[in-house]
Symmetry: C2
Subunit: 212 residues, 2 copies
């Protein structure tokens, strides 16, 4: 008479697999996942694991979904109490760096690593990570446009260029931390992000160097 134990339990098992897979993928990559190893980790049979997804690729997409949700929750949603504009962008720089610094799934940013791992492999995984990143960048561009409209950034600021720089600095922070264990770079990245949002050097600055 168990009240359909299988439904709730299956959902829990599903989550447990995806969460474990995210941890593995965080260091081994999404392609480095194997059903067999995951089954051993979670103490299930291979077919028990595979039954939840149907294929390795479907599992990869589930892991990516989890990574996107976690990123959105930690970087974007945690600034939802702020009104749109420069203030929220500054807060996002902080939550973004903090997200990287905490190493959510035990390794670096899964969106960044998946983007690089799959950028040369056409298919659903590449499409999914590309569209997730594109949505994120468009969200940020909208914030920049709002900031410009509010007079918080100069009218000649270019949203795409500003967002490009913020994303690049986040990638730099990710590499510094994961490859070199360089915590100090988190501050460097944060300062550089704030400089990008300071209204200085949004347009080409190719004049002569200032006198020393």
């Amino acid at each position: 008479m168990s009240p359909r134990r299988s439904v709730a339990a299956a959902r829990e098992t599903h989550s447990a697999i995806v969460e474990r897979a995210a941890v593995v993928a965080s260091t081994e990559g999404l392609e480095g996942l194997t059903i067999g190893r995951l089954a051993a980790d979670i103490e299930m049979s291979k077919s028990g694991v595979l039954g939840h997804f149907g294929s390795k690729q479907a599992l990869q997409l589930s892991v990516l979904d989890l990574a996107v949700s976690a990123f959105g929750r930690e970087v974007w949603e945690s600034t939802s109490d702020l009104r749109s504009g420069r203030g929220r962008l500054l807060a996002i720089c902080d939550t973004w760096i903090s997200y990287l610094d905490r190493g959510v799934f035990g390794g670096g940013c899964l969106l960044t690593s998946t983007a690089l791992e799959f950028d040369g492999r056409p298919g659903p995984v590449r499409d999914a990570v590309a569209s997730a990143l594109r949505r994120w960048y468009e969200l940020l561009e909208a914030q920049v446009e709002t900031a410009i409209a509010l007079g918080e950034l100069p009218t000649e600021a270019e949203p795409a260029a500003i967002v490009f720089q913020l994303a690049a600095l986040a990638m730099g922070a990710n590499q510094a931390l994961q490859l070199f264990g360089d915590r100090a770079a988190m501050h460097t990245a944060r300062d550089a992000m704030r400089a990008v949002l300071s209204g200085c050097s949004h347009k080409r600055a190719v004049g002569p160097p200032p006198a020393a």
Copy 2:
């Protein structure tokens, strides 16, 4: 009486394998290399391929060596006619972007992708890519220091922060091109690199936003 054909021929075969492996690794990753596939591509037996390296890891290190050489030649050495300082740094921004834009081994920058692929896997490959990138960053920092000493950059400029930003922007350009096919981002990245070297915003710029 062939004049030790085996020596020269073996060297050529070795190069052919490594070059092919670099092309494969450029889209599949260094861990995605397999001896069997490489052997089929190059039309040799598996053991014929493996005999040149001894192990897959040794092959990976050879590919990384090739990638480091190519990067050094195309980005650094091609600016060797310039004297050290800001002028050479500006030229490096151009050769760096050009190197990324050309997609040397058919995919993205192998140093960037290997760094991300192996940052969570301790071992010789991780050590090799980390030390190659560290040497590159130190080379750039020395150029920044020279520029400061020559009065081409402000004395309060922080070499590590400037190099961090240049490297981050290169990673951003790599992602934009490989994941989104965004050629326009090459110009965005180049402009942002030049802004970093313009003497503006080297120190924290956290004041109030400029009036609109």
